[in-house]
Symmetry: C4
Subunit: 272 residues, 4 copies
């Protein structure tokens, strides 16, 4: 794993300097496992993968992770495979440097640093989704801010900033958050918010738990679709939720998230 | 139930005054049941839930109710669960204050007051749908009135006013119609019409029976979609149904509603 | 049947005059049957109903007919039921006045006059679809002409005129082509073309046979969708097929229609 | 086969001259087979047909081919049938003149010359898709260039030129690339790129192998959809991938193509 990690750090000219300034880690110990995660967490993580595909938030790409229930410095995420195909056996454990605990030859997502660095920066976050949510992409490239059009997406009230990887990397990249440095920069753009868009790429959505992160992913996509329609309808006079409404809704909608979550879980359980 | 009901009344600063002016009800008797509803009505209510999900009018949220066939002061609605998952065992009975007759620990939808207050205000109404119908949301926030683009949605000819909860509550809320006072205000906005939009939230659709309320819900969504497309096509010269056409269609389309209703019922019966 | 037919003629003020000028038919003989239609034709007619539903051209409404293979003065169409549910037992025979040969209590579509009057006016037509094809509706109300955006819809090259029922009836109607007089007016608007839009209602599509009428219905919907997108993209500089291209494509595409027809038939055979 | 080939060459006035200048080939030998293709290649070619249908890139029309693994002068493609219905038994072998090696009465796609001429012009290409990808059509007729909106479609960074068959043929045609001359002209428009649009028709997408050609087809459709939405959102300030980003992404995304390919294959295997 050491070689792989080092090679990732070497990618991108601007990053080379950062790497040169780092203390060289000639020996990286294999991270210790936090032990087996709660079976319910694994089951929910697998379900989250399937739900995101079923709801049209992810296609063959995208990934979802959960912080380990036994150790805040570990997180769980599938090996590199399309979310719809994830099974419990695909779930791997990572430390916050996004080094897998026990890879056993399984390939990791190139962009796992999104997860490790956000978990490091945001102790309140216990679940993260990265996706190429289709209706969201146009907002990431057009300068039109995503804003909460209805109560289901009040979590967008804090704003959904756009991560411009050109600035973070100091120049052109292959658009992938494939290093810890880029992961950190993305976490910084996200700040305390629920969602950050990634220009020409997709977005990242966080939550206090898997149902919330999935809920927010589904309704970020829906909000983007409806906001685009509202803009097309009538020009500039769209009424969004006010900051006060955002606060009040955020305090009350949370309690209802398990309703769609149960539905979504049932739907993916039905399919063969 | 008393505590729950009282607490609901306390929500919203503007409403506190109204509550203070009310005669305090220190003892609220458990409402009496009107007796078992007709099995066909229960079956249709369950079907209505599934149809609305199948037709894309509701997702994990939204609810549909029917006035009790034995007592106009009672209505029937599922416990708080996603419409697609509703079964006959989930159907509860409410009085027009939206107090459940026999909750047995089952959770009620927070917004049941939409139903109770419209049944109170509109004796002609025997079925009500509340939803977050996607294509309708943009009309609720953009100031563009929903108008009948074709004969299937002539019921929109009376207009579809927008309920602005900020005005009704005298300030910011969590957007939910979670009190009798807000339910009454919504019923007032609706007036004698078939549909009222709810800004930043969804809409409410009423009918003389379940097939009609479901029919109107499906074609409100469709009308919104088609009207948005027509506006995008050509600017301001969209020809809507004239008031005379609306009258004539409303007198004739009613007789055909069972045709799609039978189809929709068949479709949801097919699914596992 | 006499009473029903007479009552239809009485609908609409402007039509009353026309009716008054007609020679009264006090006795209308039950039309004679042309005998059993070819089983393959019945099978294709049932399939056409299912295909149109499966391809999103019809919903709970709409109908498709075929001219009888034994008698050009008779046509075949389902009783009044949603197209997706049509079975061979639902197929009824009509004369060109749209009087059913052997109703046996089965209800007819109110708008069967669309079919009878077009078969009368267009000896080349052997199959007719009436639908509320969603993407087509906006073109019927916005003054933007439907034009062939690609070779699959070259049949639109002759133009797709809009039937304005207000003019045909001399005032407001319930939008339904529920009389022979309105059917004749629609046939006149259609003229020698493949498609006529119906303002605030839907469209009618004709063909030399069922596969062609279904093909044209599917690609009228698709053309409307793509043309709307092209208009949204770039303004006025959309390049449509030229008249010469239309001629050449119409001479060559016909030979390929059985390719999608076979696919579509297979798809509806799969479903339970 | 000789007669058929000659007749194709005779189509189109402008081409007649070109043909007259050609050395007449009075005798065309039946091309020799390169022998049986690798079973995996046949299996992937069948899967590619089904995937393109499942992903909404092709409907009843469109075709996909693969260069023969034993002979670069032969390619494999289904007989003329809807892609979704293709089986291994439908796969035929062609030489680069698009003459079938062993037709056995099976009908060839009229536009097979697209494939033969591109394989001739592009030794790097081993798989080709021709389709009527819906969201792409509007870009082919509106003068708005298709540009890479996100990393998944960086392959569009080289541009997606529009093939104007009017110019290639020197006048109106039936829009079909039904001759070698038109195939050559299309190959010339394509040049070294991954995609060429065909005005009023569809597009052609090439790849180094079947997964890549299918991947590019799916993401060309998706890019077109998202780009149209981005344009509708905000006007002219859409940020596309820069040329440098395109280069870098093209070097890195390739390695991940098997992830969606595995998913897509699994999805079409599930269906009955």
């Amino acid at each position: 794993m050491i070689d792989v990690t080092r090679r990732r750090f070497m990618t991108g000219a601007a990053l080379a300097i950062a790497v040169a300034l780092e203390r060289p880690r000639h020996v990286v110990a294999q991270p210790a496992s936090a032990g087996p995660a709660a079976p319910q967490l694994i089951e929910d993580l697998v379900a989250a993968n399937h739900i995101l595909a079923d709801q049209g938030v992810v296609d063959g790409y995208g990934h979802v992770s959960a912080r380990h229930d036994r150790d805040p410095n570990r997180y769980l995420m599938s090996r590199s495979v399309a979310p719809e195909l994830v099974t419990a056996a695909d779930i791997m454990e990572y430390d916050l440097d996004s080094v897998p605990v026990d890879p056993r030859g399984r390939t990791s997502y190139l962009e796992r640093f999104i997860h490790g660095e956000i978990y490091r920066a945001r102790p309140d976050v216990h679940a993260i989704v990265h996706n190429h949510s289709p209706s969201v992409i146009p907002f990431g490239v057009s300068g039109v801010p995503l804003r909460p059009i209805y109560h289901m997406s009040a979590f967008l009230g804090e704003g959904a900033p756009v991560f411009e990887i050109r600035n973070a990397a100091g120049g052109a990249t292959d658009m992938l958050v494939r290093t810890a440095a880029l992961g950190k920069a993305l976490a910084q753009t996200l700040g305390p918010r629920a969602v950050a868009l990634m220009r020409g790429h997709g977005c990242v959505v966080v939550g206090a738990n898997l149902p919330q992160a999935v809920f927010r992913s589904v309704y970020t996509e829906m909000n983007a679709r409806l906001q685009a329609q509202a803009i097309a309808l009538g020009g500039n006079n769209v009424t969004y939720l006010s900051p006060e409404e955002v606060d009040k809704v955020n305090n009350s909608v949370g309690g209802t998230i398990l309703r769609p979550w149960e539905l979504w879980k049932r739907k993916v359980r039905r399919s063969p």
